[in-house]
């Protein structure tokens, strides 16, 4: 008997072979149910999914070439489909014109990426990239079937998408990527460090090829975007960034979660409709990546006053975190007087802490005093002043007075703040007592 019919008997797919279930319909149904579930466990496909390609709802089968501009490309490793797309400098992506995207300031990109190696490079040497994969679980069974690539040529933006029409073409797409990278000197991605580059590294190993990505500087915009924009956005998906910041709305976009199944369906049906949306989705991702790079670097421009104060505060914090205080101070100074009291207070706080770190005491103290003047219950400033009197001036009496002042507003303080006050007060009282004792001894 064949392996498969034995397997069918084990899984119950072969209903006829089983006996003993001839006692009533409901029992047979229960049994069938149970078998269906066992089968489900065995194949681990969620209940609703079908193995046959879903209908695209747009009529019959259409070859990919008719829907996506591009052509078959060949190299030593074989053939693959390469989609080509050029956007002129005057074309728009959301609120940007393409040529506005091109003028990327490399110093600011270096700050964004926290990578000084980017400083000496040229924006035309950047390769923007994003992949579409057969899953997000990772591991060696996940394949990047579509590698989307973008770069600037003069003021135009070129997008090339390397598509493995079948698993057998993966090798050729990887070789294509390697060849293209010869003219590029750094990478720009969104979450590419953790995902795309990692996955491609695995694919290169699986195909026994050296990984051309690993040595290149890599600006992953996810991390700076998180730092600069977290105050604005509900989540950090590229999609939500697009509409909120880049002024770009996608129409009829294929959800990322559907993409793997689209590819599996494509493999069986070769229906171009299944893939056309995926190409479009990926191309928008690449374009938005370029736009996001431009937007984030705009935010770092100290001279650009169009930016919202909250964004400028975030930019200043990024500069501070990256060890660029000069730029941070240029951003923070005007913010201290801005219309929004919260932002002004945050800016003043950052500035004062910077002065404190660099031991520019008069400047720091001036800010704290100013803040206490504005609000006499300002916990932060009262405590900072108290610290200053205690540790720098060694004036315990005035320090204690400030602590007592902070304590007057106990009801609005957090438990941590209360604990801090109690601790500080005790220590100051001890020091004061010690000093009195000392004074007495000297007498």
């Amino acid at each position: 008997m064949s392996v498969i019919s034995r397997l069918h008997r084990l899984t119950g797919e072969d209903r006829k072979a089983s006996g003993g279930s001839n006692d009533g319909r409901s029992k047979a149904e229960q049994l069938a149910n149970l078998r269906a579930r066992i089968d489900e466990i065995l194949s681990r496909r969620p209940g609703g999914q079908k193995t046959k390609p879903r209908s695209t709802g747009r009529g019959g089968f259409v070859p990919l070439e008719e829907l996506v501009p591009g052509e078959e490309t060949t190299n030593e490793a074989g053939a693959f489909f390469c989609a080509c797309h050029l956007m002129e400098g005057s074309a728009r992506h959301g609120r940007f014109r393409i040529r506005e995207l091109a003028a990327l300031d490399m110093d600011r990109l270096a700050v964004l990426g926290n990578d000084p190696a980017l400083r000496g490079l040229d924006y035309r040497e950047a390769l923007f990239f994003d992949t579409e994969t057969t899953g997000i679980a990772g591991g060696t069974g996940t394949v990047a079937f579509l590698i989307g690539l973008g770069w600037f040529e003069r003021d135009a933006f070129i997008v090339r998408q390397f598509f493995a029409r079948d698993y057998g073409e993966e090798r050729a797409t990887l070789l294509g990527l390697r060849e293209l990278l010869k003219g590029k000197r750094f990478l720009v991605s969104f979450n590419g460090k953790a995902f795309d580059a990692n996955l491609l590294a695995a694919r290169f190993i699986m195909n026994r090829m050296p990984d051309p990505l690993s040595g290149l500087p890599h600006l992953d915009l996810l991390h700076p975007a998180r730092r600069l924009l977290s105050h604005r956005l509900p989540d950090r998906r590229l999609g939500s960034l697009e509409s909120a910041l880049l002024g770009f709305e996608r129409e009829e976009d294929v959800p990322g979660s559907e993409i793997p199944q689209r590819y599996f369906d494509w493999l069986r049906s070769r229906d171009g409709f299944l893939m056309a949306d995926v190409f479009k989705h990926n191309r928008f991702d690449i374009l938005s990546l370029a736009a996001l790079a431009a937007h984030l670097s705009e935010m770092l421009d100290p001279g650009d006053t169009r930016c919202h104060p909250v964004d400028r505060l975030a930019a200043a914090r990024l500069f501070l975190a990256r060890g660029c205080p000069r730029e941070a101070i240029r951003l923070l100074h005007p913010l201290v007087g801005c219309a929004s009291p919260e932002t002004a207070w945050d800016a003043a706080r950052e500035l004062s802490l910077h002065y404190k770190r660099t031991k520019q005491w008069p400047a720091a103290v001036a800010i704290w005093e100013e803040l206490v003047l504005r609000d006499d219950s300002d916990f932060f400033s009262l405590i900072e002043l108290a610290k200053w009197f205690e540790h720098q001036q060694r004036d315990f009496t005035r320090a204690l007075a400030l602590v007592e002042r902070a304590r007057a507003n106990e009801q609005i303080l957090s438990p941590d703040q209360c604990a801090d006050i109690v601790h500080r007060k005790k220590r100051l009282e001890r020091k004061l007592a010690g000093r009195k004792g000392l004074a007495r001894q000297t007498i």
């Binding site: 392996v3 084990l10 003993g20 681990r44 057969t134 394949v143 698993y167």
Partner: protein
């Protein structure tokens, strides 16, 4: 009071009548000197010096043989007693190789995380003394994410477990390029643990490992260690699917040992109930410790560890102080620091008594204790020897004392000492080509690396299975390669410890608003253990099952205090589909083959604790289950039975009693749990089968029918089936078929030697269950079966 030495204590005990009347056997195993050989010339002088400084001036003969074979590229399995220096057999060649080739890598596999940690300890110590730049890391579920990258790149020796290899390492092999490209040695300790389902999965994990190594161009040598079982060499070759050299002659010196099998007093002869094993354990342990004899007590559950520890602590805190007494517990769940402290306390004899679970049975160094008391048979003869080996590891006199509980296995062991003391009767079996298990691993393997046409994986027709998976849509074929073509991560769908990955969670609803999941039960046993109205036992607490919801895969329970537990009543119908093999000769038909098993839980009995009295019945309404598996069976021709002096009902009782004892003995022979194997009585055609209904037993034809279907038939050739309780079979029943005669011999010994008058849980099952003449009839039937 003057303290006795162990020798004096023993000679006193041997004179005490009250002690000796419970002793079933005393064996004196004489001391054996060590056999030594010089270090091979290739051993690095630094490494040799460190070992010599540790007191290992020369190698034991088996160590020398092992390292020599490994050096020559031969995979080996070492089967020698506890404390015979097995770890050196792999650490020596591994460290030597890394000295020579700093790029070389080794992978150590231990069945549990705890054991891996302990071995890390050992090899770290050695490397520390070598002052060498050799990096050893454990890699398991507890390894922090930020450490993983460094471990993957730099670790020379990676210590992990099969589950992690299966789900965490192999599916990400590209990240482990360095390891797989340079893998020279794979060390597998506790090889005998990999049997049954776990072993069948494990073979497939090794198949995948070898496949990945091939991709990176490496071909590692396997170094395995196993406890003493009947077939270590054969088992190793089945697991590794390559030739493996067996090293089973220990060159380590052994201390003289007295081994005593002890059976507590019978307190209720009718029911076959004995005094709890805990009582003599307590008394003897206290006596030994009072005499300053360092003692380890092994208990079979965490709870028993705690109870015994408490007793000993109370005893020695209140009793007359003796200078060195100190007692403690030791089990999994204790924090590593505490465990290290206890181990040190045992080594320097500050601790004189320790109560442990089998966590201490394995290779943790606690020095040489003098006495080892086993509170209950640990489930296998191999474990018994490992636990006994905890006392008197190298020199002097030592004592091992096994105190039996009432269970059939315990009773069989102590009542049949020859069985225990002669060559190991325990076999490790696997069936890596169980189609369901194989299919899971083919999926995982395809995820790791596309399959090429002509490739081999397991013993079945791979191409057919690949085509099947392609039809199912998880693989996609391009030319001569099958690629993984689904979003899922197949290794996550399989647990190496089960066939059906589906579980039922047990939810405790005792506190409203605070429902907690207290356990998971695998899908198959859920039907019998957590059906609605069952009493589910966990950590000796009872829970009443309010509802078993199969849709949600949950059983909702609440805490109760009852004086009974429930025992599910299942009817089972077995039909032979295909006989693979038949024993030649004799009228008795003995066969092995594939069967269809239809079973249904129809009700349950309420059984009173201690007395096993039947307190009543309940109905259960669950769908029936249909399973194809492998079975061993034998048929007794009707005319032969006609000669017996009993009626049909009694014959059926006798068969049931015989099946009961065969089932227990089969589990013992296979080191399996009782529920890994199941039994049924019917006839071979599948037309008739014996069904237990409430308190009578009958032969019936309709599998699902109600009470009206009762009838007695004459045309019935009774057949006893023992089958693998898992779809597709896991290799148990073909061994039972091979060992048919040995199994019947063991059953006769068990039933004959049992001191009960009419049958008890230790032989043919409780009298109330199997009828008053079951024991007698079972012996008569055995006589028929074994008549020449």
């Amino acid at each position: 009071m003057t303290k006795l030495t162990l020798k004096e204590w023993l000679s006193r005990a041997e004179k005490k009548r009250r002690f000796m009347e419970n002793v079933r056997a005393i064996r004196k195993i004489s001391a054996r000197p060590g056999e030594f050989l010089d270090y091979p010339s290739w051993v690095n002088p630094v490494l040799r010096k460190v070992l010599v400084d540790r007191g290992l001036g020369r190698l034991y003969s088996h160590q020398a043989k092992a390292v020599d074979l490994v050096r020559r590229g031969q995979s080996i399995v070492i089967v020698t007693p506890t404390a015979s220096g097995k770890t050196l057999c792999y650490n020596l060649p591994v460290l030597q190789k890394i000295f020579e080739e700093p790029e070389a890598r080794a992978l150590y596999l231990f069945p549990t995380k705890a054991l891996a940690q302990d071995q890390m300890h050992e090899i770290h110590g050695l490397i520390g003394e070598l002052k060498a730049d050799i990096k050893t890391y454990t890699y398991d579920g507890d390894t922090p994410d930020d450490a993983r990258r460094a471990i993957r790149k730099q670790g020379h020796v990676i210590v992990t477990n099969p589950d992690m290899l299966h789900a965490g390492i192999l599916p990400h092999h590209t990240k482990w390029q360095k390891l797989f490209a340079n893998l020279q040695y794979v060390v597998i300790d506790e090889l005998h643990v990999y049997r049954g389902i776990f072993g069948s999965h494990f073979t497939n994990v090794l198949r995948r490992l070898v496949r990945i190594c091939r991709f990176y161009g490496s071909d590692p040598v396997f170094i395995c260690c196993s406890a003493t079982v009947a077939n270590p060499g054969e088992h190793a070759e089945r697991l590794l699917e390559r030739s493996v050299a067996l090293i089973d002659e220990s060159g380590a010196p052994a201390a003289a040992k007295t081994f005593i099998l002890y059976n507590p007093l019978i307190v209720n002869r009718e029911l076959g109930i004995r005094q709890s094993a805990m009582t003599p354990v307590r008394k003897i342990a206290v006596d030994l410790i009072e005499n300053g004899i360092q003692t380890i007590v092994f208990a079979t559950s965490r709870l028993n560890v705690e109870v015994l520890t408490k007793y000993l602590k109370d005893r020695f805190a209140k009793g007359k102080p003796i200078d060195t007494q100190f007692v403690t517990g030791y089990r999994g769940g204790y924090l590593p620091n505490l465990r290290r402290r206890i181990e040190a306390g045992l080594r320097n004899r500050e601790i004189m008594g320790v109560v442990a679970t089998n966590a201490l049975e394995l290779g943790i160094d606690i020095g040489d204790l003098e006495a080892s008391i086993l509170c209950g048979y640990p489930g296998s003869i191999a474990s018994t020897w490992q636990q006994a080996g905890r006392a008197g590891r190298r020199t002097g006199q030592s004592l091992a004392l096994l105190i039996a509980r009432s269970s059939p296995l315990d009773q069989f062991i102590v009542e049949n000492p020859d069985y225990f003391f002669s060559r190991s009767p325990e076999f490790c079996r696997v069936n890596p080509d169980n189609l369901l298990i194989l299919l899971h691993h083919i999926k995982s393997a395809a995820f790791e690396l596309p399959f090429e046409k002509g490739e081999r994986f397991g013993g079945e027709n791979l191409e057919e299975l690949l085509n099947y998976l392609e039809e199912k849509g998880v693989l996609h074929r391009v030319d001569a390669r099958w690629h993984w073509s689904a979003e899922s991560y197949p290794a996550d769908e399989v647990s190496l410890r089960s066939i059906n990955p589906e579980n039922v969670v047990v939810v405790d609803t005792t506190e409203t608003g605070n429902h907690r999941v207290i356990a998971e039960v695998d899908w198959d046993s859920a039907f019998t253990t957590v059906h609605t109205d069952a009493v589910y036992m966990m950590e000796s607490r009872q829970y009443y099952v309010d509802n078993l919801d199969l849709e949600r895969k949950a059983a909702y329970v609440h805490k109760v205090e009852t004086d009974y537990y429930t025992d599910a009543m299942t009817y089972t119908n077995v039909r032979v589909i295909d006989a693979f093999a038949k024993k030649p000769g004799t009228e008795i038909l003995v066969e092995h083959g594939e069967v269809q098993v239809v079973s249904k839980v129809v009700g349950y009995k309420k059984i009173k604790f201690y007395t096993s009295e039947n307190l009543g019945y309940g109905e259960v309404n669950l769908p029936e289950k249909d399973m194809h598996t492998t079975s061993y069976w034998f048929t007794i021709p009707r005319p032969r039975l006609a000669g017996l002096s009993c009626n049909q009902e009694e014959i059926i009782d006798g068969l049931a009693g015989l099946a009961y004892s065969l089932h227990h003995l089969a589990a013992m022979m296979l080191m399996a749990d009782l529920h890994d194997i199941d039994r049924a009585i019917g006839d071979k055609s599948g037309e008739w089968f014996v069904r237990k209904y409430r308190n009578w037993r009958t032969i019936t034809t309709t599998p699902g029918g109600g009470n009206d279907a009762l009838q007695m038939v004459d045309a019935f050739d009774p057949t006893i089936f023992l089958f693998d309780a898992y779809p597709g079979g896991i290799g148990f029943s073909d061994l039972l078929f091979e060992r048919h005669d040995a199994l019947l011999d063991a059953a006769r010994q068990l039933i004959r030697n049992c001191p009960c008058p009419h049958g008890c849980p230790s032989c043919v099952g409780p009298t109330l269950e199997v009828g008053p003449r079951a024991k007698e009839t079972a012996i008569e039937i055995l006589g028929l079966l074994q008549a020449k």
